[in-house]
Amino acid sequence: MAAPHRQTLAVWKFASCDGCQLSLLDCEDELLLLADRLEIAYFLEASSAIVEMPTHPYDVSIVEGSITTAHDTERIQEVRRRSRALITIGACATAGGIQALRNFADVEDFKSIVYASPDYISTLGTSTPISAHVPVDFELNGCPIDKRQLLEVIAAHLAGRRPRVRAHSVCVECKRRGTVCVMVAHGTPCLGPVTHAGCGAICPAYDRGCYGCYGPAESPNTAALSARMAQLGSDEVDLVRVYRTFNAGAPAFREAGEAHEGGPPRSAGRGA
């Protein structure tokens, strides 16, 4: 039953694919119950109704996406001002996302590759996480986030406790799941040892190495992992690529990628 003063939830979007906020709508069994418990005051993907809160901030703001435009650097300040707790969801909001690959290139080149009239496009040279602009109360990793973790984070904030979200590596999840190690048993390169848990170790369970979509775990030993992957046959180009995907802007992965940059190109014809 609805409490007399329901807490309010707002969902905000910056540069992203919408997949993380879709995770909220993917809570098919919990969505309507959640809407009974709290007021979804601002969620454009789901409703045109906006509950304006002129004097009170939203109790919980969920932010998806990274900051890539001058306008958005201002909008995120406004979101922060209007939010009691600000939670970022996903690799874009937490590390800059796949679009942070521009941070390693010249954005003017990027514009002219995609658009016939690059002058029409206004964008920043970088894609940066929300925490680079405003204080963030909690960051939920993943590309995409795990919906059960999202529900846990929302429930924890409603209850005023810390979310039970562990920062250990994907390896622990594989052990718990009983998955045979794909790197030890099959020599498949795997980012599991340095990647933040949360997905439930899906890739190794599908005979594939982890590709790091949950970003760095706490204290990741990327140097040791890179050395092992090199023994398994990864060259410098491969090593740059594996760290430089959806969490390329996360410091530990950025540094690991940079450590292998400048190696000899594999073939003369390799692209830009």
């Binding site: 979007k13 540069a15 992203s16 694919c17 919408d18 997949g19 993380c20 879709l22 709508l25 993917d26 098919e28 069994d29 969505l31 309507l32 979804i40 454009l44 993907e45 789901a46 409703s47 045109s48 109704a49 890539t68 435009t69 958005d72 996302g97 796949i98 679009q99 690959l101 521009r102 290139a105 080149d109 990027f110 514009k111 590759i113 995609v114 658009y115 016939a116 009239s117 029409y120 496009i121 964008t123 590309c143 995409p144 919906k147 997905c199 899906i202 890739c203 599908y206 005979d207 594939r208 590709y211 979509c213 491969d238 690529r241 959806f246 594999r266 073939s267 014809g269 390799r270 692209g271």
Partner: protein
């Protein structure tokens, strides 16, 4: 501004219940529609640029991130294009069946989301599904359960609902067992019943009587009994019949100032529409008997040119996707190996598949070691943007006497009729009506 020529501006700065960030701007000069703009201000993410220098095997995972609503579509167009470049064809057998199965899962998930959460509130007069659920809880719940069945297919075959991890160039990392797929039968049978009920429910919705004369373009499967999803030639009711490799010769993309999306049109002709209305018009004879029967009972005829009734066509496609998924599971025998070997070579490859909201075209040029040299991605919403603007213009002309707020609402519904996915369309929409 002359006497009697009042100018009205109607604008919606943040379009709701669409995927991604767009706005509408309309300016009316007296009784003349002076300007209609669907603005895509979703910030550009430069996928075609950042794909350069990556491995050909990375394209399905990277391009999935263009859209959280239809990642499988991106993965499927990417793998087809890469296989085309490498001279590999997977046109029958269990790997293709699994691809169609996971794609059916995405159609079920995406169409359920659109029909129940995004589109239905327009017809029933609610701002969103959560508000609608306060008075029509059982309707929203059945939509959510159908959506859940689609997600279950994606999670089982693909590893997870959003950005599945199991799709690769050449096939899959791991093929499911027969026993695993059988666990999907119960939820899919219930979803099929819900889809049939959805067709009957949607038939009763109040539809404005409109007909749009726009060229309809979609894939057509070479098998006359297969509804287009994952392969085929690109055909239109205006006479186009081309291989995906010829797409560039027939469709041009233009960059206009008000949008971060590129507008597509048929070269030296005009706008066209892709999506459920186009697929249905060009391939309704290929629907499975159950879906074809549901369409007949709903009075859809062979062609539906009323975008408001697209909800009905999506409901028919939900029947189709559930029924086909069940048939695929019934006949499934696991492949000997989950993927075929794909060896890169210096070449250009093309891939076109049917995302829930329309044709999705990929073209890649790769080097002999598989490095991507050039990428081109044409999503459905950038193809539909001009048709949507044209549609808005027609709706405005027919409803000039409505007050601004109701006119804005009608315009927004006109946009949602096409299930635009703005996250996709960037490179690829802002709605404002200006009568001022």
């Amino acid at each position: 501004m002359g006497a009697g020529r009042q100018t009205r501006v109607i604008r919606t700065d943040y379009l709701a219940r669409v995927e991604g960030e767009g706005a509408m701007y309309v300016r009316l000069d007296g009784r003349e529609v002076a300007e209609v703009k669907l603005r895509i201000y979703e910030p550009p993410r430069f996928f075609e640029a950042l794909l350069r220098g990556r491995a050909f095997t990375e394209a399905p995972d990277i391009t999935a991130r263009i859209c959280g609503i239809c990642p499988v579509a991106y993965q499927m167009s990417a793998v087809r294009a890469m296989e085309d470049a490498c001279g590999v064809r997977i046109d029958d057998g269990p790997i293709r069946d699994l691809r169609r199965l996971i794609y059916c899962g995405e159609w079920i998930e995406s169409h359920s989301l659109h029909v129940y959460m995004l589109h239905a509130p327009d017809f029933l007069g609610y701002p969103g599904a959560v508000e609608m659920a306060r008075e029509h809880r059982e309707i929203v719940e059945q939509g959510l359960q159908m959506k859940k069945a689609g997600n279950a297919v994606m999670a089982l075959v693909g590893g997870r609902e959003v950005h599945p991890i199991n799709v690769r160039v050449g096939g899959f990392y791991r093929a499911p067992t027969k026993t695993q797929l059988r666990t999907l039968q119960d939820p899919l049978e219930r979803a099929r019943e819900t889809a049939l009920a959805t067709v009957r429910w949607a038939t009763e919705l109040p539809f404005p009587e409109v007909e749009r004369e726009v060229e309809l373009l979609a894939l057509a499967d070479p098998d006359p009994d297969a509804y287009p999803i994952d392969r085929g030639r690109i055909v239109s009711d205006g006479g186009i019949d081309i291989a995906p490799a010829e797409f560039d010769e027939h469709v041009v993309e233009e960059h206009v100032e008000h949008s971060n999306a590129l507008h597509a049109r048929i070269r030296e002709r005009d706008v066209y529409l892709t999506g459920p209305l186009a697929r249905y018009a060009l391939s309704s004879q290929a629907l499975r008997p159950l879906a074809g029967e549901a369409a007949r009972e709903a009075g859809l005829g062979g062609v539906c040119r009323n975008p408001f009734r697209s909800i009905l066509v999506r409901a028919v496609e939900l029947v189709q996707a559930c029924d086909e998924a069940l048939a695929l599971i019934e006949s499934y025998e696991p492949p000997v190996a989950p993927a075929v070997e794909v060896t890169p070579r210096r070449a250009v490859g093309h891939g076109a598949t049917e995302a829930p909201r329309g044709l999705l075209y990929h073209r890649y040029e790769i080097d002999e070691d598989g490095t991507i040299l050039d990428a081109r991605i044409v999503p459905p919403t950038s193809q539909n943007q001009l048709a949507i603007e044209q549609d808005l213009r027609a709706v405005l002309e027919a409803n000039l006497d409505l007050p601004d707020d109701r006119l804005a609402l009608r315009c927004e519904q006109t946009i949602r009729n096409h299930d635009p996915c703005i996250s996709c369309a960037t490179h690829f929409l802002q709605l404002t009506i200006d009568r001022g």
